[in-house]
């Protein structure tokens, strides 16, 4: 416990978290500080490329652990299963309609890649290694939750546009999945040679880029919160904090079953605890247009993302290292 608090303290006072806090505060105070959309997108491309490449290069280096397939399967199962837990919890804690609750549930089954990136950077700064293929697991967890959510709506007699082939394509080939998997393979194929060529681009400036990106995330989250006071009831707020803890517990169970390293355990806990705010929202606008976007965006970006960033990740890392003897 002491450890967890110390770690949380150390994590809270890093430039990354403080940048996020700065963005959040600036947006809540209605400062006109903005990171241009194109710049934010460019930063996220950089982060995805770097994290994917490093994952691939590390797999090339350490060889493919037999656990890759099992870990992928575990990720897919978590992504399918968590929306049911989320939906049940929402029905208990809130009065959201079936459609709104299912849409929120889809977000929590899926993942937030920035939360994942931040967790890897915390691990790295504490010198804790993790399986390089976790980025592939992250990519695999993006989409399944959407299917579960549509199933929930249909089962409850709700109206969904359903998944046409076009939507499938959009989800499975969304930018972050393609970039993550693609750069993972590039890192895997080019290995240490490739790493040597681009190391000074993707390794040394990484944490600084993450700072500016989290500044923008803070700005966006803050703007979202400002426009969404009505959405935040005690029930939704409780959900936004309880659900990541439930997700992390499920992730922990999976990691223990798989026998992952301490770092890998922390990462899969983080993935399960995190909620999507890019891929799933876009899919929901097409498949469940009647669901209110400000509910799912406020919860995933305004509540759960900051929670994971500040308290969640240090806790997951501490628990993972404690339980897997790291």
């Amino acid at each position: 416990m002491q450890d967890i608090l110390t770690l949380a303290g150390a994590n809270l006072l890093t430039p990354m978290i403080l940048c996020f806090a700065l963005g959040l505060a600036a947006a809540l105070a209605r400062s006109e500080l903005t990171v241009p959309e194109a710049a934010a997108k460019a930063l996220s491309i950089y982060l995805l490329f770097a994290i994917g490449f490093k994952g691939g290069a590390s797999v090339a280096d350490h060889g493919l652990d037999g656990n890759l397939i099992a870990a992928l399967a575990a990720g897919v199962i978590l992504s399918f299963a968590l929306p049911f837990a989320a939906f049940a919890l929402l029905k208990t804690l809130t009065r959201l309609s079936v459609t709104d609750a299912a849409a929120v549930a889809a977000h929590y089954g899926s993942i937030s890649i920035v939360t994942f990136v931040t967790a890897t950077s915390v691990l790295q700064s504490q010198g804790i290694a993790a399986e390089g293929y976790m980025v592939a697991v992250a990519a695999a967890m993006e989409a399944p939750a959407i299917i579960s959510a549509l199933f929930i709506v249909t089962r409850a007699g709700g109206r969904s546009e359903g998944m046409d082939a076009e939507l499938w394509r959009e989800i499975l080939l969304n930018g972050s999945i393609v970039l993550l998997i693609g750069s993972f393979f590039i890192g895997f194929i080019t290995g240490a040679d490739g790493m040597a060529r681009i190391e000074s681009f993707i390794v040394s400036p990484f944490q600084g880029v993450l700072c500016l990106f989290l500044l923008d995330m803070g700005l966006v989250a803050g703007r979202g919160l400002r426009g969404a006071r009505g959405v935040l009831t005690a029930g939704t707020l409780a959900f936004g904090i309880l659900m990541p803890v439930i997700g992390a517990a499920a992730g922990l169970a999976a990691a223990l079953a798989l026998g992952l390293s301490p770092g890998g355990t922390a990462l899969i806990m983080t993935l399960a605890a995190s909620a999507s705010y890019i891929a799933v929202p876009a899919a929901m606008r097409v498949a469940l247009p009647e669901a209110n976007p400000s509910i799912y965006l406020t919860l995933s970006l305004g509540v759960t993302f900051p929670f994971n960033l500040t308290l969640g990740i240090p806790a997951y890392v501490a628990v993972a290292t404690a339980l897997t003897g790291g």
Binding site: T34, E37, A40, K41, E161, E166, E170, M217, L219, V220, R223, G224, G227, Y277, I278, A279, P281, A282, R285, V286, P289, E290, N292, P293, S294, L297, L301
Partner: protein, 102 residues
């Protein structure tokens, strides 16, 4: 200069629906349109701005200039797509140069 009667249809729609709309227009034989970016807006579903979104999907404005007799086909095709989605459709009388293009 010789001008010809036409309709200017302006459809403001969510960006994730853009391709579905333009595909539907193309299927309905409407092959002329222009897509403009949108920064923000306000409507029944509240106010939004590109800056308040991460993926920043936002909305786009699709403008079609069309011969008056083709208007109904266009509106039917567009309406089928926008029906359950937020957004607005307006139709204005206009004149175009070079009628052979429409």
């Amino acid at each position: 200069m010789q001008t010809h009667q036409a309709k200017r249809v302006e459809i403001i729609i969510e960006a994730p629906m853009e391709n579905r709309l333009t595909d539907a227009l193309t299927r309905a034989g409407v092959t002329g349109f222009t897509v403009l970016p949108v920064l923000g807006g306000s409507g029944r579903s509240g106010r939004w701005s590109r800056e308040g979104q991460v993926g920043r999907a936002g909305m786009v404005a699709v403008i079609c200039l069309i011969r008056p007799d083709r208007l109904d086909a266009l509106l039917d095709a567009a309406f089928a797509v926008v029906e359950r989605h937020i957004g607005v459709v307006s139709v204005t009388d206009t004149q175009v140069l070079r009628a052979e293009r429409f």
